[in-house]
Amino acid sequence: MTTPYQQPGAPFGTYTSPIPVRRAHLGDALASEWTKIRSVRATVWTLGVMVLLMLGVGLGVAAIVSNANVDTEGEPALGMGFFGVLLGSICVMTLGVLTIASEYGTGMIRTTLTACPSRGRVLAAKAIVFFLLVFTLTTAIAAFVAVVQTGMVEAPDATGAQWLRATVGIGLFVALLGLLALAVGSLIRHSAGAITIMIGLMLFPLVAAMFMMSESLQDLQQALLEYSIPSQLIAIYSESGVSESAPAGWEPVWIMLGVTAVALGAAFAVLNTRDV
């Protein structure tokens, strides 16, 4: 005991930090989350594989169609980007889950929330950084692939609206899908569990619809086909949906926006009240 013990009521020795106190805000949380997302391998792996899939599959499909002289039946070449985007979106979902669930896995979440007790700010910063990163990258790669595909394949020219949907629309849809994964990751707090749920969400409706052959289930089968994630992606590329009643054009993006907003709202509410 080198320091004298102070009896209660004795004047407090107080320490004042020389570090200037400046109020932290969302911008600081964004800087923090940007440091986090750029400093882990998971980001490089998932987004790197996504880029490779979009380029490889997208350009591969274009090369096959071009060599085989397949008739695109009046559709512009943009729709060929679908296959690469569908596979790439699995990578995005994985990164979305890991962005928050890995903090629970490592215990980092306790350090994060001790540093920033405003849990809404933490979740918002994660969501914004992740969304902007994925949106920018997906839109850029989708645009590049679309330009190359259009150059390779003989098909009718796409309209300006189609170009916008095949680039910005796809970027928005994939980034929102990733945000949905982030919300699920926040709710589940377990990487493997949340990734499995997201992949199930993507594949289950189509697989289930295949087995719904009875009359009574026809409406449900129709809905599952129309609203499954792959069908929604196809719908963004084309003028009409997979069927008459299915969402088409920008509608899948708005639907995904609604679903993601609800999931993020739930994630926020739960994060705010739960013990960490």
Binding site: P8, G13, T114, A115
Partner: protein, 328 residues
């Protein structure tokens, strides 16, 4: 200054923390002691607003933790050594924390230097030994140069040099006027670092006292005697009103006597002594005695603590005794 008021946490029917009220004062090292599962970590998590109390509250300089704008500049906490992303470098793990609280980036290099991790700053923290991870956790606590520091079991996994370092660090930080709150289940460690002691068992407050008082009150002093003529020695002691307790191996323990008086007594009666020594019961023993009292089903064989008849007993009701009420 941290104030806890009736802090309670229930997990289902189990009460982890039971109406805990105490204050952590600035300028001293306050030790937070309790056996495993006593509720120390749960209490610390509630202090940092990670767990929600079932009832009661914690105030830090009068505020709720969530109302602190840049908490790292008020409180630095080390909860678990490995509460970092292993795939990220030590530097980046600290950088993202600094950024969220607007702490200048140069502090990252400064605290890494303080804890001696500069040479591995760019290495992934996954590959760190427990001792290095502990140092990284301490660096994160020091990042905002805060006035309050909380360490949960900081010496875990540290080598003797590291333990020595953290002890001196805590004392130096307290001497600067900071509030230091450190948990441990090792009484011996606390005796070396803490000025004030808060002991809990089964989530209840058992003691809130100064370390000096605790030592005074709890370390029983006695004289140990060993003689080949034990029977005669016993009779002699009895005649002179000493209570001798046999403690195995043919040794006798006598409370309330001095080595001088017993040595002279033996000499007068020409008894051969093989041992005559002054002893103090360890604080560890006192701590175990205290916390064992909070565990109802603890097996108590012989009373190894005869000196506390008039002192406080630690039963289920766990009386709160401290410097203000019963201190000297």
């Amino acid at each position: 200054m941290i104030e806890l008021e009736g802090l309670t946490k229930r997990f289902g029917t189990k009460v982890a923390v039971d109406h805990l009220s105490f204050q952590v004062r600035p300028g001293v090292v306050t030790g937070f002691l309790g056996p495993n599962g006593a509720g120390k970590s749960t209490t610390m998590r509630m202090m940092l607003d990670l767990d929600n109390p079932t009832s009661g509250r914690v105030r830090i300089d009068g505020k709720h933790y969530r109302d602190l704008e840049e908490p790292l500049k008020y409180i630095g906490a080390l909860l678990e050594a490995k509460a970092m992303h292993g795939g990220r470098s030590a530097y980046n793990n600290l950088l993202c924390l600094a950024q969220s609280n607007r702490i200048p980036e140069r502090r990252v290099a400064e605290v890494l230097d303080t804890v001696g991790l500069t040479s591995v700053a760019r290495k992934k923290s996954k590959g760190f030994s427990l001792g290095m991870a502990q140092r990284l956790g301490i660096a994160s606590a020091l990042l905002g140069d805060p006035e309050i520091l909380m360490f949960d079991e900081p010496v875990n996994g540290l080598d003797p040099e590291g333990i020595h370092w953290i002890r001196n660090l805590m004392k130096a930080l307290a001497a600067e006027g900071r509030t230091i709150f450190v948990s441990s289940h090792l009484m011996s460690e606390m005796a070396l670092t803490a000025d004030h002691l808060i002991v809990i068992g089964q989530g209840r407050l058992l003691a809130d006292t100064s370390m000096a008082d605790f030592i005074q009150r709890n370390s029983r002093s006695f004289v140990r005697l060993r003689s080949p003529q034990q029977e005669r020695l016993r009779d002699l002691l009895h005649e002179h009103g000493y209570q001798a307790v046999e403690s195995g191996n043919g040794t006798l323990e006598i409370d309330g006597a001095t080595t001088e008086s017993l040595g002279e007594l033996a000499a007068r009666h020409q008894l051969v002594l093989h041992e005559l020594s002054a002893q103090r019961a360890s604080l560890e023993e006192a701590f175990m005695q205290m916390t064992a009292g909070a565990v109802e089903y603890h097996a108590h064989g012989t009373d190894v603590h005869p000196g506390t008849d008039s002192g406080p007993r630690w039963g289920d009701q766990a009386p709160r005794w401290g410097t203000t009420s019963q201190g000297k």
